[in-house]
Subunit: 174 residues, 2 copies
DNA sequence: TCGCGATGATTGAAAACTGAACTATCGCGA
DNA sequence: TCGCGATAGTTCAGTTTTCAATCATCGCGA
């Protein structure tokens, strides 16, 4: 099977996967490589994002949350929706919002229709911060993803979404 | 821009990214979607793997570590190599190996040539466990990735590796 | 209208992970 | 051979994340 040139940080991992296959026949090597690649990339991305927002006193998760609030600035969002949008557990979202609220970046208020719900709204200060950080993040992101052309990006998105769909379906059954 | 059908769990996220773009022109929407997709997939995969190895009393990280040890069963591995292969920090690897050692799945011994190093070796019990679990994992993995054909998998691997390479390069500079 | 199971959010305890010291050892040059 | 910066691994303290229990509120049916 042909392999591709790859970053040093992943070479070690791939070498080890190959060694597993040598010992135990039938290993779906390419599949394992894919899974590990996704994890590896996820970590790399997190590290980069963290490094970018740290100077502003935020964590990557905090920033992601704030951005989701920014997206819904006009109406505000319920906490549960927000946790879904940011991809965090509800418990964790509570803590993250605690932190953001302490920093004055968001406001919490009880829902009017349903007082169990909590409406979260980004503050003026939060908007300012997001709008200050976003352009820099976008530039970085654009630079990093320049290695792929438009067609490749589209194809990558398609493939990853197929994968996400498959994993979703696999979930509750097994 | 055309979008693809996608799992419900990611729909919310994508909708929110779209809303950010409405508010702030110039957002590289497709790029952001890609990054969030990768993170989303990484989490999904972790959940699935965890669910599979939990009954054996292992965490996903523990199993991944054990598998890397299995790959190098003949010679054993130094702890630092292992942490690199498993994609964990050295600190965390110490803790994980503590756990695996307590369960009798690996042996630790001082290196002979260099006594600072610690040689890690999978135990008989560890080998048995890995060989019991692997086939089930591979079956699951195979099922999940059946949504992609061979050509698509190869293309996905190529694209992801390109991305990994780009992020690697971006690292120390900015 | 009164209950009561269901739901949204929070809290507390525990687990997982990380960064910064610290310890022991190494290899190299004076 | 001695000393000393570098390296491997661990420990400790702090952060982040999760699970399970809890609180408050809702909506629905008797």
């Amino acid at each position: 099977m042909r392999t591709f040139p790859v970053c040093p940080s992943f070479n070690v991992i791939e070498a080890n996967i190959g060694r597993v296959a040598e010992r135990m026949r039938g290993a779906p090597v390419r599949d394992i490589v894919l899974v590990r690649l996704i994890k590896h990339l996820s970590v790399q991305i997190s590290v980069h994002l963290n490094r970018m927002v740290r100077p502003a006193g935020l964590s990557e998760v905090g920033f992601r949350t704030l951005m989701m609030l920014y997206a819904n600035a006009s109406a505000g969002v319920f906490a549960s929706q927000l946790s879904e949008a940011a991809g965090e557990t509800r418990t964790n979202m509570t803590r993250i919002c605690d932190d953001l609220a302490r920093k004055g970046l968001l406001r919490r208020r009880a829902g009017t229709r349903d007082r169990r719900r909590v409406v979260l709204e980004i503050s003026r200060k939060g908007v300012t911060l997001v709008e200050r950080l976003l352009p820099r993040m976008w530039t970085q992101l654009d630079m990093a993803l320049r290695v792929l052309n438009a067609r490749e990006k589209l194809e990558l998105e398609r493939l990853l979404k197929n994968l996400a769909l498959a994993l979703d379906g696999l979930g509750p059954s097994t």
